[in-house]
């Protein structure tokens, strides 16, 4: 379980987090959605010990991230936004290093590495230097590495940024299967469809504040089922309708170019903040 209360972070003149509070249940796949610079990565950095909060408290499975940092760190695995593998080492050596840092005995490390590389479908690349891998493969190695010590919580910080759609889908199914194994997953993303597809609950973060929090379904149903985009006065106007007939009646009654589609989380974010998630 992840819990944080009134978490604040200030970087010189910029307040990256403005007192956010949240609780994520065990086994939940929770998505933190927001544009670049909204405070998503800062939250993860505080929770995983990479950054010090300016104020507030956070716990991972009951362990305070600052006061009981070693126990808290044992609870979680982290897949950073940046590729942070040791480029000079092989895939296997990277995983061994992680296992050593988490005090895993050699026999257990060897067994776990074989299992995990099978799991992320790159067992044949164990002895390959990291620098020879593609971006998607590196991300899968990072996921395998984060799972090495069997953490109860997995933090995924924009795990699919920069990857092509096919690889992204592959990583999504991997994330789903990790959740099925019982892990709690905290995922940050600015891809709307990623949050829609994966998350049990979503929090929208904007300028360091949580603006709303609910299941994707509830958030979208709050606006309606159908969205009608209309180009008007050089800009885009979107109207929301409970059913398709109502939307069609609107199209018939008005002139202009319309496009009818399902409501998505981007619509929810725009309606709350006036901004797009992907900026």
């Amino acid at each position: 379980m992840i819990r944080f209360e009134n978490l604040r972070k200030r970087y010189k003149q910029v307040e990256a987090l403005k007192g956010v509070s949240l609780q994520v249940g065990e086994g939940e796949l929770f998505s933190y959605l927001g544009p670049n610079g909204s405070g998503k990565t800062t939250t993860i950095k505080i929770l995983t010990g990479l950054a010090v909060p300016s104020a507030g408290d956070a716990w991972l499975h009951g362990f305070h991230v600052e006061k009981e940092s070693l126990q808290a760190k044992r609870q979680c695995g982290l897949v950073s936004q940046n590729i942070n593998l040791d480029n000079e080492l092989t895939v296997g050596e990277n995983l061994h290093l992680h296992g050593k840092l988490f005090q895993m005995p050699r026999k257990e490390r060897v067994q776990r590495i074989c299992e995990l590389l099978e799991y992320v479908e790159i067992a044949d690349r164990m002895d390959s230097p990291v620098k020879s891998l593609s971006g998607g493969m590196k991300k899968r190695v990072m996921i395998a590495r984060a799972l090495m010590h069997s953490p109860r919580i997995l933090f995924l910080d924009e795990p699919t940024t920069g990857l092509d759609p096919a690889i992204r889908r592959r990583i999504w199914s991997l994330v789903k299967s990790i959740q099925r194994s019982g892990a709690t997953i905290f995922l940050t993303t600015h891809y709307i469809e990623e949050a829609e597809f994966l998350a049990d609950r979503v929090a929208f973060l904007n300028e360091g504040t949580i603006v709303t929090l609910d299941t994707p379904q509830n958030l979208m149903e709050g606006l309606g089922t159908w969205a009608l985009d209309r180009v008007a006065d050089g800009g885009m106007e979107t109207l929301f309708f409970r059913d398709r007939e109502e939307a069609n009646r609107h199209i018939a009654a008005h002139e202009g170019s319309f496009s009818l589609r399902h409501v998505n989380l981007e619509d929810v974010f725009i309606s709350l903040t006036g901004k797009k998630v992907m900026t």
Binding site: G49, K73, N84, D86, L89, L97, K100, L101, F102
Partner: protein
């Protein structure tokens, strides 16, 4: 303990992977100094009862062990700013002291390794000095001082270019002025006073005395050990400051 070993073994693994490149990089500058100052300028020059070449070898050992131990800072910075591997260490359940100890040990190992290389080059040049316990102990202490300083400073700098600046302003001048190429006691008294503030002056003195088989001056060893301990404690505290 295991965290410290993980950090240390990673550095050794990287050293092993770059073995030949590292070997070349460690031997280039001492080889050049040996050729230019030892065989070139120093031919026929004597320092006390020793030939200049005999005088120079322990100086080169002091200088190179300092530089190699300090070079651990560059490795840490590459891990921090380019590969972001430092995040992996920060997110791991290891204490700061384990991290610092692992990196400092790696620095000392590099210092000892580079010393062995210089001694090999010296032996091939026909210079053999005394390689006793005090000699190696002084080299290890020199490595301890500069590896601890390197780890501490690597935590404070904000970019790789800051690190290069520190090397240019502190390490390079010390390499030339710390009793490596000339005897400090031939300098004007006021210069000697200044040079005695440099840790390398004491390292050169201790390494040279041991290499010539003179009885050790324990004050130099004590000073290096104290200074190393101070830098080590500072490094330990500054690791926390590297967190955002």
């Amino acid at each position: 303990m295991r965290g410290m070993l993980a950090i240390y073994q990673r550095e050794l693994l990287i050293l092993r992977k770059r073995f030949f490149r590292q070997l070349a990089s460690m031997s280039v500058s001492p080889l050049l100094y040996l050729l230019a100052f030892g065989f070139g300028m120093g031919q026929g020059v004597r320092v006390g009862v020793h030939s200049y070449l005999e005088f120079l070898i322990p100086g080169l050992v002091a200088m190179n062990s300092m530089m190699q131990a300090f070079a651990i800072a560059s490795e840490i910075n590459i891990a921090r700013f380019y590969w972001h591997i430092f995040e992996e260490f920060q997110a791991a359940p290891i204490r700061n002291i384990s991290y610092v100890t692992g990196e400092v040990l790696a620095g000392i190992t590099r210092a000892l390794f580079s010393t062995a290389l210089i001694l090999l080059i010296a032996a091939l040049s026909g210079v053999v000095v005394s390689y006793n316990f005090y000699f190696w102990f002084a080299v290890a202490l020199n490595g301890f001082v500069f590896a601890s300083l390197a780890v501490g400073l690597a935590m404070l700098v904000k970019s790789h270019s800051d690190q290069a600046l520190l090397t240019n302003f502190f390490i390079t001048p010390m390499a030339f002025l710390g009793g490596t190429f000339f005897p400090v006691d031939t300098m004007p008294v006021w210069v000697q006073h200044i040079l005695h503030f440099l840790p390398l002056t004491h390292a050169s003195k201790a390494i040279r005395a041991a290499a010539f088989g003179y009885p050790p001056d324990f004050s130099s060893y004590l000073l290096l050990a104290l200074l190393g301990a101070v830098f080590f404690v500072l490094a330990f505290h500054w690791v926390n400051r590297a967190r955002e």
